[in-house]
Amino acid sequence: MKDFMNEKVVPKVMAFINTKAIQALKDGLLYSMPMMIVGAVFLLIANFPIPAFTEWLAEVGVTPVLNQAYNSTFGIMSMIASVGIAFTYVQNEGYKGLPAGVISLCCYLILQPQSLTLADGSAVNAIQGTWTGGQGMVGALGMGLIVGWIYSIFMKKDITIKMPAGVPEGVSQAFVALIPGAVIIIGVTILYAVVNLGLHSTPMEWIYSVIQAPLQGMTDSVGGVIGMGLMVPFLWFFGVHGSTIIGGIMSPMLASNTAANQAILDAGKELTLANGGHIVTQQFFDQFMTVTGAGLTIGLVLYMFAFSKSAQLRQIGKIGIAPAFFNINEPVLFGVPVVLNPMLAVPFILMPVLSGLIEYFAIYTGICPMYGGVVLPWTCPPIISGLLIGGVRTAILQFLILVLSFFVYLPFVRMVDRTYVKQEQEAQNQE
């Protein structure tokens, strides 16, 4: 079984993960994430859970200031992604990435509506927050990958403007992007013309309604929760960093759902299912499905730390307990190990699904609130993170999930413990 997995399944999973597109997608999005988290701090202050404080902020006029910062960070997540993905793609191909990132940004802007009709009937030219934020995400990703791909072809075939010898390196570098840039921008402009003149729409609006909205809906469903819940530990079971890979692939949809929820709040409406709120968001994934590390291994760690009789497990429990509260569990996954260990596969793969389903149900029934735009670094400790994203109820639910993890892992870790104690005794007897 182990050999079959190592020889047949893992290479196939790896081949998919190592495709240039997936690599660029996952690493390119890493440029949006920090800015979303920074922006969320401003949002958190503007919407602090003490009404007296937020009213005072509005009164002295600080709220718009906070929103300015928020709109220019969290609010342009897909704009940043459009640069980051083309940049990463081209960089991975071994060329300078920034020229491609800039071309991708221009193309992404060409795709979207820029004419806005004001209340008095006059039209202004404006880049709109709707599209720079969550709703432009798939367009940004697609554009980033296509630009990265085409730009790399130009570089590989060396189709660039050649400067005569003697021209400084910096100067000739500045002209490298000219030919690929011109070709790509003309192509995207033609695409815009076709959609605009033919369909009286923009490519971005079309991509949103035909591709992105359905994908967001699929993510935001029981099936989506089960799928993500299974895939993260499944990849980790083979020693592959499942959280980064699945998180990376799903983040565009999860972040778009988060942004859509915040847009509902910004419009002055209540964040509910009826108003189109999304249950499964970035916070849903970070703070419930990978909390204390992939597989929600906190229960395993606590048992090893406090109750295990095997010296090896106790040692790993000691090493693993502090990182666990920052949602890091590599020492545990590789030390016990959980990786390729059939004895722990069941709770490891089951626990995230269980947690996800419980949380989904809690939000669906209104027991716990939906999440707005407050996103946290994934290393934020549980219970504190719950308090910040959703309030007291969310924190309590997180606590209950941690307790549940202990009991789900209990029968399995006991079995592992007994086996290890036996092995350790045998090893001692032999000495």
């Binding site: 790896m14 190592n18 590599e330 590789f334 030390g335 190990p337």
Partner: protein, 102 residues
């Protein structure tokens, strides 16, 4: 002086191991310079070092990493899973020394 760089996903979990390796080196009296970085910085941070070690969770990037390291003339390998998990600084240091040929 033995210069070792460890590469993992974000350079976070591996920093635990780095501390243990430094302790092990101090106990042996070996002079070392050990740091952890995200795997994405491999091109940059692997220049001119004695050996590069990959965390097992990014072992799936071994093929690409070994190409990069070959170009730089730096020996590279993936840290054995259990030594990584147990934060066994002594074993990983020995592993690195062998790899670096020192």
């Amino acid at each position: 002086m033995l210069t070792i760089r460890l590469f993992c996903n974000e350079g976070m979990s591996t920093s635990l191991l780095v501390e243990e390796m430094k302790k092990a080196a101090a106990a042996e009296g070996t002079e070392v310079d050990i740091r952890a970085y995200p795997i994405n910085d491999l091109d940059d941070k692997a220049k001119g070092i004695d050996c590069a070690l990959l965390g097992p969770q990014v072992g799936y990037l071994k093929a690409k990493a070994s190409k990069t390291c070959q170009q730089l003339g730096v020996p590279m390998d993936v840290i054995p899973m259990q030594d990584y998990g147990m934060c066994n600084g002594k074993n990983v240091l020995a592993f690195a020394k062998k790899l670096a040929g020192k």
